[in-house]
Structures are given as C-alpha cells and as structure tokens.
C-alpha cells in the first residue's frame, strides 16, 4: 500500500479534549507532520487569510467543527469560499461533529467544498480511510 502523509492539517474546534485526542490519533496513524489548531471559526479564518495574504501555502486538509462560539463552522465555510486565493480545489475539508441532526447533514451536502462528514469521536480507522481515499 502506498500511503502518502497529509502535508499539513488544520483542526478548527473549541473542545480541548477533542483537539488533544485528534492530535494523539493523528500521531499514531502517522497522518501528518504539521497540525494547525484554532478554537473557533473566526480565529481560523483570520489566520488562514493571513497565510494567503503572505503568499504561503494553506493547509491541505481542514477538520472543521460546526458548533463553535464567535464563528460557527457554517459561517467559516461561507467566509472561506469568498476568500481570494483559497486554493479550495486542492484543500480537502472534513466536517467533524457530534451532531446527528439530519438538518446539519442536509446542510453539509449544500457545500461542494466539503468532502465528507465524520461523526465524533474520530477514530484511527477514519484517518486510515482518509489517507486511502486521498492516495487513490
């Protein structure tokens, strides 16, 4: 199996336990070498915007929570789509949420930019599947 590491991953979530757990599982799975963490949508948007403005490369994958203070996952997506030079075609976005609300799932499908939806807690198998699908 030819497994390619993800160049860089961005985690946007307000739950410190989730961030801790995800980082730990990513290490175990040898998922990536670079992890950017933001605690809400606004923080992430501001940082990513700064990166594009500097001309640097954006993370190649984003794990995005929905329910966050200040700026929710939805709002982040709305703003991110509008951001110039977002390189969105090459960025893979996963929604990671504990919500099983069908309204949320229906809403995800409206965003073409979103690749898939992963229900919390994230498991090592989830990461393996991601790597496989990206590799293919």
């Amino acid at each position: 199996m030819n497994i390619t590491k993800i160049r860089s991953v961005c985690i946007i979530d307000d739950d410190p336990i989730f961030i801790y757990g995800t980082k730990r599982i990513m290490n175990e799975a040898d998922f990536t070498d670079e992890i950017l963490v933001f605690n809400d949508g606004q923080e992430a948007f501001d940082a990513l915007k700064a990166i594009t403005e500097k001309g640097d490369e954006l993370p190649s994958m984003i794990f995005l929570d929905i329910n966050m203070p200040i700026m929710t996952g939805w709002e982040f997506l709305d703003e991110f789509i509008k951001m110039p030079n977002n390189n969105s075609e090459n960025i893979i976005i996963y929604i990671i949420s504990s919500s099983v609300d069908p309204r949320d799932i229906a809403r995800i499908q409206q965003y073409k930019i979103v690749n898939n939806y992963i229900l919390k807690p994230i498991s090592i198998e989830d990461l393996h599947n991601i790597l496989k699908s990206v590799g293919n």
């Binding site: 739950d15 410190p16 336990i17 989730f18 801790y20 757990g21 730990r24 605690n39 809400d40 329910n67 203070p69 200040i70 700026m71 929710t72 709002e75 504990s98 919500s99 099983v100 609300d101 309204r103 919390k120 807690p121």
Partner: protein, 734 residues
Amino acid sequence: MQTLSITSLIKDSPSAVAILDTQLRFAGNSKVWADEFCPNCESLTGKNYFDVIPRTPKKLKAILENCLNEGVRNLSEGEKFIYPNGEIQWLKWKINAWTDANSEIGGLIVLLEDVTRVKRREELYAKSERVARTGGWEVDMHTNYVYWTDLTRDIHEVSKDFQPNLESGLNFYKKGEHRERITNLVTNAITDGTPWDTELILITAKGNELWVRAKGEVEFINGKCIRIYGTFQDIDEKKKTELDFKRISNRLALATQGANVGIWEYDLISDSLVWDDIMYNLFGIEKIANQTTYDTWLNSVHPDDMERSNQEVEAAISGIKDFDSQFRIIWPNGEIRHIRGIGVTKKNAQGKVVKLVGTNYDITELKNTQMMLQKSEESFHGAFENSDTGMAIVALDGSFEKVNESLCASLGYAEKELLTMNFKEVTHPEDFNDDRSLLKQITKRKRSSYKLEKRYFHKDGHVIHGILTVTAVKDTSGELLHFVSQVTDITPRIKNEKKLSHLVDITTEQNDSLLNFAHIVSHNLRSHSSNLSMLTNFLIKEKSDSERENLLVMLRGATDSLNDTILHLNEVVQVKVGAFEKMKNINLYDAITDVQKNLSILIQEKNAVCEINVPRDLKVRVIPAYLDSIILNLLTNSLKYSSPKRAPLIQISSKIESNAITVSFKDNGLGIDLKRNSDKLFGMYKTFHRNKDAKGIGLFITKNQMEAMNGKIEAESTVDVGSTFKLYFEKPLT
C-alpha cells in the same frame, strides 16, 4: 126717407157698419157696431162719433176728418193702437164718403173691425217662430215658386229679398251625405207623398255650418203633387249639445268599460236598481231586465259585510255620510270578490233623497296584493326585529333609518342614538372607502347588492369585525328608496381565530423548541460521551504514568462538563414546565434593586453604574423566581461582556403599553453582531465572545422563562456600542 130705409137696412148688416153725417153724427149703424164698440149705448143715432167712442185714436180721427173733407176713401188691413192705459187694440177699417143726389158729400160710411185677437195670434205666431227658430217654406209645384218666411231666410243667412227656387234651396245643404239625403226625401215626397222629418247640416250663405231640422209635407190633387210645404228649424245648438253629450257618454262608457267600472242607480221611490252590463259582470249574475232590486245587491254581499254595508247605504240615504265603502261579494259559484263602491245621493225639490247613483269596481287583485304586501312587510318586520344578524335600513345619504336590536347590541349604541347617526360614524376609517365605492356602484346601478368584510367601532371604541351585506331597495319605477344592510358580527370568530392561530404559533414554537431541545440534548451528550470514550480508549493503551495522569485530569473535566450539561438541561426542562398558577403581581423596582444588591461586589469591581428608571409602584405579573433569574442574567451579561474601553453603564427603564409592560436593559458593552447571530442569540450553547465563563445557556433560559410567563424578549445590539434587551411582561391583574 130714403135715408131712413137705408139706415134700417144697415141695422142688420153682419159687419160693423156705421153711417155718419157731415157732422160725424151717427145717421145709422149696424147692431154689430153697437155690440162691438158701444155695447152699453141705447141708441147711437144723432150722437157724435167721438162722443160715442171718446178714445178714438188721433190717427183715426184725422183719417175720418180727412175723408169727410176731401171725399176720399181710406183702407186699413189692421192698425195697432196702444191706448194711454196700455191696452192694445188692432183695428181694421174701410172708410168711404157718401154723396147725396147733388153729389154733395153727405157723410161717411165706416166699416170698422176689431182684429186684436187675430193680430195677437199672428204676432204670437211670429214671436214663437222666432223663439223656436223655426221658419216656414212652401213650393208651388205648378209655378215652381218658392216661398220662404223671414226666419227661414234668417237661418240661411240671406237677405230679406232673397228669392230661392227648389234647386238653389236644396243646394244649401252640405254637399255629400246631407244634400243626398234631403234630395232623396224631397224626390220621394213628390213621387209618393211621403212626408219627411230629418236632421241635417246646411251651409249658410255666409259659409257657417248649421244643424237644422227639416220637415216637409205634400199636397196632392188628383194624384198630382201641387204643393210641398214645411218648417225649417235651427237645432244647431241643441244638436251640437246632443252630439257632445253622445260623445262624452260614449267616452264615459268606453272608460268605465275599460276600467271595468260598473254603474248603478237606485231609485228609492220605486225600489228599483238599475245596473249597467258591467255591474252584472262584476257580480257574476245573469242580466235580468227590470228585475234588479236593492235586495239583489244586498244578497250578493258576503254575510260578514252585509250588516255594515246596509248601514252604510242607510247612512248615505239619511245624508249622514256619502257612500264610499269596500265589501266582499259572493259569486253564484262561491268565489269571493272584493268590491269598492261609491255613491252619491240625488235629492228632490224638498231635499229628500230619492236616488243613489254610483259606481262599483273589483278590487280583489288590489286587496290580494295589499294582503300579500302586508304579509311580506310583516314577515320582513319580524325577520328584521328578531334576527340575530344586525340589520338596518340605511337612507341614500348613509344615515340609519331603522335598526334592529341585534345591530344595537353589536355596536353598543341605543336604537335612538344610532338613528341620529350615519354609517360612516361607526365604520373603521380604513374600511370606509371600500364600503363607499361599493355603495356607489349600487347608486350607479352597476350592481344591486354587495358583500364586504369590514370593521366597525363599538361605542366604547373597540373594533367590531362584521360581514356586511347591502341590498338596494327600489320602488316600482326603479328609483332607489334605501338600502337594507345586514351585519353579521364575526368579532368572536375573529377573536377565536386569533386565539387559535396564536395557539398554533405557540404549539409550533414549542414543537420547534422541543425538537431543538432534543438535538441539543443529543449533541451535547454525544460530544461528552465521545470525549469520554476517546479518553478511556487512550487510558487503556497509555503506558506513561505522567500521560495517564494527564488523561485522568481530562477525563475528570469531561465528566464535570457532562454533569454541568445535565444540570443545564434540567434547568431548561424546569422552565418548560413552569406553570401559570405560580404567577404573581410583583413590584418591578424592588426586584431589580434586590438583584442589584446581590451583584454589588461585581458592580464595584467593574466600576459600573446602574440607572434604574422604573416607577416605584410599577407591578408586573410574573413568576418571581424567573423574574429574579432574568434580571440577574441580563445584569450579569452586561457586566461580563462590558467593554474594556469604558466604565459599564446599565440603564433600566420601563414603559406601560396597551397590552404589556416593557422593560429595557441597555448597556454600553461589547455588543453582538446581530446580522450574523440574530438566529442563535437566544439559542442553547451559543456563545459570542471568547469568554471563559460563556456557556451559551443564559439567554436561552431567559427566553424560555419569558415565554413561560406569556412574555417575550427582543434584542438590539451594535458591536462595540452596546446591547439593549427589551422584555415584554404581562400587566398585573387587578
């Protein structure tokens, strides 16, 4: 003695003869003379004529003297004398002078005749001819000579010396029918002796048309007509009157027949009742000539009306009251008809009523129509008065002419008050134009009725919802008389609809909030459980003691969070089951100041100012614990999310509105971007600031508490300027 013998001969003359001498003394006279002119004289001989007849008119005296002196004769066919006492005498005389042997005038022979009687008759005849406008005429068939009397000439308007012949006489008759008729009549008369008597028009010499009555008779001798004669009467005036009368009678007959008016005449003396044909038709009886009596009529009258009708006739006869009545009659076939009878009385010279003359006509149709109208009016009246629907008769100017109880009840006015008002005064101004424009369509005859949902004002000012139906009422000629308005009061229905839709809103809202709640519960519990399962998985695999310690701390935190979440959810559930019976009238000012005291340390720390502009006695109807919780939450929020740039200022004010008491909490804090967050401001677990204390539960609970108290909460906010929360409380029960 010769003289004497003559005188004695004269004595027995059948005429009145007198012989006078030169001294006008009677030499002899006939007995007739003495009888005629001097009946009481014993002997006239030797007496002077003027002594015997002293009143001899002057004229005659002069004639006598003249005849004696001149020896001439004098004749008179008749002369009229009027004596001083006024007496009229007609005298006819023949006077001759006589001569003796020597041809000397010896005296006069006087033949005198009193023709007064004959002349009077002649005069009378002429007068009557003039009065009767009757002239005479005569045609001598032998000589063809035509004689007309003066009056005949007069009638023909020709001069006195006009001389007609038979043909020109006939040509005076009007050409055509009239001339032909008289020509035929005259021809027949001449041929076979038939007399005639006819009425014809002639055209006078002056061109006037005249009706005349022409009578003619014929004299035959040996089978040959020798003379026709007759009279000729001007009947123009009479004929014209007659023709006029005939025309008028015809017209009247036509009119009465057309109007089916029967005419009757009741002769009280003979107790005979004369009916015209229409009367028989009206009473449905066969005509029997001369058999109709008062009883014929009375027996036809309906038994219930008989006595009254009879009395009315008697009242008319006795002059108390003219006969003008209505009564029912029964036809032989049993049909009942209504009759109107009118009669006038005719009195004789003594002022006694001898006749009643009058008319009858059938008013059954009218009566039936009247009864139907009365019935329909009664039923309309009944429906109008007893209807649950508000009803009004509205005049063309919009004023109420008649209103029913139901309308009065709906609008809260007394009938008297409404009758002085115009529909505009009770109409909601926003609906008036719709109503008026529809009404105009009726007056312009574009429609005859309309239906409209509109609002009225009750006398006490509240709005009445009604469904109005307006119908035009027209008279027989199509002129608009008034409108009939029906108003169904649908206020209770509208109220119920509102209540129902409010209930539906609440139900929908509660459903939504329940669904939200379920998702919130599942989401929040799930996020904790997923953390717990992840952490326990790590713990199982973790070998490093320090890392296990770290994981246990996190596990502890996760279980605490789970516990918090469950407490919050419980709190929310508690709010949701909050009951109305816990609501009380609470002094708002006291409640705010109590919370303020509890927060005094925090207020001091933040160096905050709290301005309370609420009346000391203002009460709101709330669940006391919720009110405290709400005030606490809002004040805490204002302090927690105050701007670091300025000292916090919190202004609390109240306002009494029509159906709520509003309280506003205004601060100068961080503010919230409501454009982005309006839908989740009051949502559960929504936070808007990176504040560690923010749990996203406070406003969610506040909102639920407000709703549990039938109130609501609204927010206005500008980032970095401040927020204002507006609370709507129920008014206290009094």
